[in-house]
């Protein structure tokens, strides 16, 4: 009988997922700080002040009832949000003291002491227990950004939290109501913010559902009418230049049943690998939908942080993504410390706002390649996707089903000795979900099948050729860069078949009895080996019209890391059954200046580049996903100084 508890304990421990973390390569990847600029996560020189604005009669929020400096009118949001049932609507109204027809415009403000004008940044929380107020959780960003000359408003949308669905249009619309209020604050002679707000440089930041809401707000900002009820006209047209989505959801609201389209805005999305709420990098969908069409300098960047969760970017939410009982079903042991996760946010969010709202170009390289800020970032692993408005797509694999052509006329694609060559939509970690974006899967095994395991054939390759018209139209030259995104997958094709020797006579076609085939050698016993965790090594080869080729290793531009399996759930086997994949497939963007090919082969002429070849010569076998291949006349500011 005394053994019973011990047996129970053993059985229980067998049901709990052991802590499994991928080998951290940050000591290598983040070993250097090549960006020479002040750390944007450090406090600036401004004195920070705080204030509240709001209805002044909030039943539940004492600060928005008793401490408001500026009063605001309530707004009617009943066309944008409703309770799922009348009873729940009554319950909510009873709790809050107001319905969706009289929503308060409440904000807590951190602002710099000075005359300004200062860029205005709104940050909005996402869904959470509506009785545990989320808006104070961004105080750490408020203190930082205000000290650096931004006005930061943490918007109260707690009254949209809880048990309602499909309300992200309301969340986005509320942000625009706040901007209306700020326009009034700025324009009113008696206001403490009179002429102190830079309304031409507005940033919106949102977390979780709020992360989608900022995209909705930016889309509504340019529309004349509410897409789902055109009896409501819009007249916003604010100077929103920067959007930040923190672990956002996507598709909770779709205007006119279509994914929210966005163009011509700077966009940053960050997401954690161990997100216990939005457990897949769904912000990549919005990232993919952003287009740059007006010739202005815009960029977008997506940063994935290993061991970060959903809530630690908000000090109220903390590490329990599933609520107070999270330790029962979420594995919290692998998370980075809360302060480390917030430090990442300080660096990226502050750097992004400095770059996009204040024009501080020295921070632009951060969003192209995380390796340039090795000293600023918490030591864990990151993946960065990036694109700027100078980019021209050569192949993004979504336009047709012909694998031999690119996205523009004059581009042809060929492959040699590949075991896998197929195009498809890039999946998300969630089941039956994808990024809405396409790529090509390339698998190779350079070993020749047979008993001699050292025998290898010619390295497999994937070749993309561009015509004169493309080069001319895009003005590709020495200042241009080859841009593509790539992610290894877990698949490893088997050895390739030996090439047929066509010079020998086929003896099987001779007359007479068929000779008996020699007995095949016994198949060597398969010895289980640990999965190879070393990064893949491949080369990029460029050839110009004169036939000069230059080859450089991809590892110079970033680590080609094998898939990182993540276990978010505590119960053993739950991740496998709940998700389509344990690893998120996030292609890392590589920006390879064409000048680097010239440096590798001095005779190479970037202006006459005709072929780019991915040569799978450094790793014997593997599979990669390749997407977003293009050339960019990239702003040199995105490159680290020594590469300009």
């Amino acid at each position: 009988m005394p053994r019973l508890p011990l047996v129970c304990l053993l059985v229980l421990s067998a049901c709990v997922q052991p802590l499994r973390l991928a080998r951290d390569d940050s000591p290598t990847v983040l070993a250097h700080q090549s960006l020479r600029a002040p750390n944007p996560a450090e406090r600036g020189s401004y004195q920070v002040r705080t204030m509240y604005y709001g209805s002044g009669r909030d039943k539940r929020r004492a600060v928005f009832r008793d401490s408001v400096t500026l009063r605001t009118q309530v707004v009617n949001g009943s066309k944008f949000a409703t309770a799922p049932t009348p009873a729940l609507g009554r319950d909510r109204k009873k709790y809050w003291g107001f319905g969706f027809d009289s929503l308060p415009v409440n904000g807590r403000v951190w602002y710099p002491e000075g005359n300004g004008p200062f860029p205005l940044v709104l940050i909005v929380h996402g869904n959470h227990n509506m009785k545990q107020f989320s808006d104070p959780g961004y105080g750490y960003l408020g203190e930082l950004l205000a000290s650096r000359g931004f006005i930061l408003v943490s918007v109260d949308e707690n009254f949209l939290n809880g048990n309602i669905r499909g309300e992200n249009d309301a969340r986005g619309w509320m942000l625009l109501q706040h901007l209306k209020v700020w326009k009034r604050f700025n324009d009113s002679a008696g206001s403490p913010f009179h002429n102190r707000v830079d309304l031409g440089n507005i940033g919106l930041m949102g977390h979780s559902r709020g992360g989608e809401a900022v995209a909705v707000a930016a889309a509504f900002n340019r529309l004349s009418h509410y897409p789902d009820d055109a009896t409501i006209s819009f007249d916003f047209k604010f100077g929103i230049r920067a959007l930040v989505a923190i672990a956002p959801i996507d598709g909770q609201y779709e205007p006119a049943n279509r994914p929210t389209p966005l163009e011509n805005v700077n966009y940053l999305v960050i997401h954690g690998s161990h997100d216990g709420d939005v457990s897949s990098f769904s912000g990549l969908r919005q990232y993919s939908r952003i287009r740059f069409t007006d010739g202005q300098p815009w960029f977008k960047s997506a940063v994935w942080m290993y061991r970060a969760n959903h809530g630690q970017w908000n000090t109220v939410w903390g590490n329990k993504d599933g609520g107070p009982a999270s330790p029962r079903f979420l594995d919290l042991r692998g998370l980075v410390p809360e302060e480390a996760q917030r430090q990442m946010a300080r660096v990226y969010l502050s750097g992004f706002l400095e770059a996009t709202l204040k024009g501080k170009k020295e921070y632009l390289p951060i969003f192209r390649d995380h390796r340039v800020i090795g000293e600023w970032l918490p030591k864990t692993m990151y993946v960065t996707r990036f694109q700027e408005s100078g980019y021209h797509a050569v192949a993004n694999f979504g336009e047709d089903v012909e694998v031999g052509t690119g996205s523009v006329p004059g581009v042809t694609i060929a492959a040699e000795s590949l075991a896998t060559w197929k195009e498809g939509v890039i999946p998300l970690r969630w089941q039956n979900a994808n990024t809405g974006h396409y790529g090509v899967w390339l698998g190779w095994n350079n070993r020749i099948a047979g008993t001699d395991t050292t025998k290898t054939g010619k390295a497999a390759s994937y070749t993309l050729s561009v015509g004169d018209s493309v080069r001319t139209a895009w003005q590709i030259g020495g200042g241009s860069a080859l841009v593509f995104s790539m992610a290894p997958t877990a698949a490893t094709p088997g050895p390739r078949a030996a090439a047929k020797d066509t010079t020998k006579k086929d003896s099987t076609k001779t007359a007479g009895p068929k000779p008996r085939a020699p007995k095949p050698p016994p198949t060597p016993k398969k010895v289980p080996t640990a999965a190879d965790s070393l990064p893949l090594e491949i080369s990029i080869e460029a050839v110009d019209a004169g036939g000069t080729s230059a080859r450089i290793p991809l590892s110079r531009y970033g680590v080609l890391r094998r898939p990182i399996e993540v276990t978010v759930l505590r119960r053993k086997g739950r991740d496998k059954s709940n998700f389509a994949s344990q690893a998120e497939l996030i292609p890392q963007t590589y920006v390879v200046p064409l000048a680097d090919f010239r440096a590798a082969a001095p005779g190479f002429d970037p202006a006459r580049i005709v072929t780019v070849r991915w040569v799978f010569d450094g790793t014997r076998a593997g599979t990669v996903l390749l997407t977003d291949i293009g050339f960019s006349n990239i702003d040199p500011a995105f490159l680290i100084p020594e590469r300009r």
Partner: protein, 305 residues
């Protein structure tokens, strides 16, 4: 609210209507707790969850599907077995259950025994059984249920059987549940000319919302009060401390108390103790009930829900 009060008082009157006649109550199986968990929480299960709620309040079947098999031993003298199953069928929930008690009747003036007698092994073989079918619907946020059952009491070679009916209603109030049931409506039985009334009772009870105590512990409680046919008021209550170390694994400790009949030399203990172990949908329940007199009762159940 006033209308609800009127209905409640009418139901209480119904339950006590025959009290003046002072007959014994039968069948014995309907005087026993219907479920293992229920026994562990002082039989206060009118707002409980699980298939065994079929024996308390058919309206609560609407909450959860499942099947439960339980066995209870009363000392070395008697054995009770129950089987209940509940599940959705279109827009309604259907349930079926069987309760069967095998016991040995002692020598006495009445043919009808009481729960306190069950740990005594008398000279006469006896059994008591009930077979129940039930239906539950939801209307305007309130769950309603009705059950019909065939009941039978055997004492030696003598027997009598008949029909009985239950009615119930339940409603969630916040995160808790309020339940009301009227059980065992029908004509009584008669063995060798000795009439026995059905143990008609009206019960009002509540299941409290689960309260998070810490990251791994929850606490919940149940309470109910019944008015029985003979006019007795029977309160009962119980609590559960729920430990969930990892999703799908649950260990529960529970304790309950209720008013019991105190008979000369023998009685059920008012206090019960129990526990459960759950692995995903599979559960094992156990409850212990001391008896004053010989032996005590142990009840185990296996349930899938």
């Amino acid at each position: 609210m006033r209308r609800a009060g009127t209905i409640l008082s009418a139901l209480l009157t119904l339950a006590g209507a025959a009290s003046a006649q002072d007959h014994d109550q039968t069948p014995l199986v309907l005087l026993l707790p219907g479920g293992t968990r229920a026994l562990g929480v002082g039989n206060a299960f009118v707002a409980g969850r699980g298939s065994e709620v079929l024996f308390y309040n058919p309206a609560q079947m609407f909450i959860i599907r499942g099947t439960t098999l339980s066995v209870e031993r009363f000392g070395g003298a008697s054995t009770l077995g129950t089987l209940s199953t509940v599940g959705p069928f279109g827009k309604v929930y259907l349930g079926a259950g069987v309760q069967y008690l095998d016991y040995h009747k002692g020598i006495g003036s009445s043919f009808y025994s009481l729960p306190a007698d069950l740990t005594f092994r008398g000279p006469t073989n006896a059994s008591s059984a009930a077979a129940t079918v039930a239906l539950a619907v939801r209307w305007k946020g309130v769950r309603f249920g009705a059950a019909g059952k065939y009941v039978e009491e055997h004492v030696g070679d003598l027997r009598d059987g008949g029909l009985a009916f239950d009615l119930g209603a339940a409603r969630d109030i916040g995160r808790g549940t309020l339940g009301l049931s009227v059980q065992n409506i029908g004509k009584g039985l008669e063995i060798l000319g000795q009439p026995g009334d059905l143990p008609t009772r009206v019960t009002l009870g509540a299941a409290l919302p689960s309260i998070l105590v810490s990251s791994y512990f929850d606490f919940t409680g149940f309470a109910a009060v019944s008015r029985e046919r003979d006019g007795r008021i029977v309160p009962g209550a119980g609590v559960e401390l729920i430990y969930q170390p990892v999703e799908g694994w649950t260990v529960i400790g529970r304790a309950g108390a209720r008013r019991v009949r105190d008979l000369p030399g023998r009685a059920e203990s008012p206090v019960t103790l129990g526990g459960s172990f759950g692995l995903d949908r599979l559960w094992l329940d156990y409850t212990f009930q001391p008896y004053r007199g010989p032996g005590s009762a142990h009840r185990i159940a296996i349930r899938i829900q």
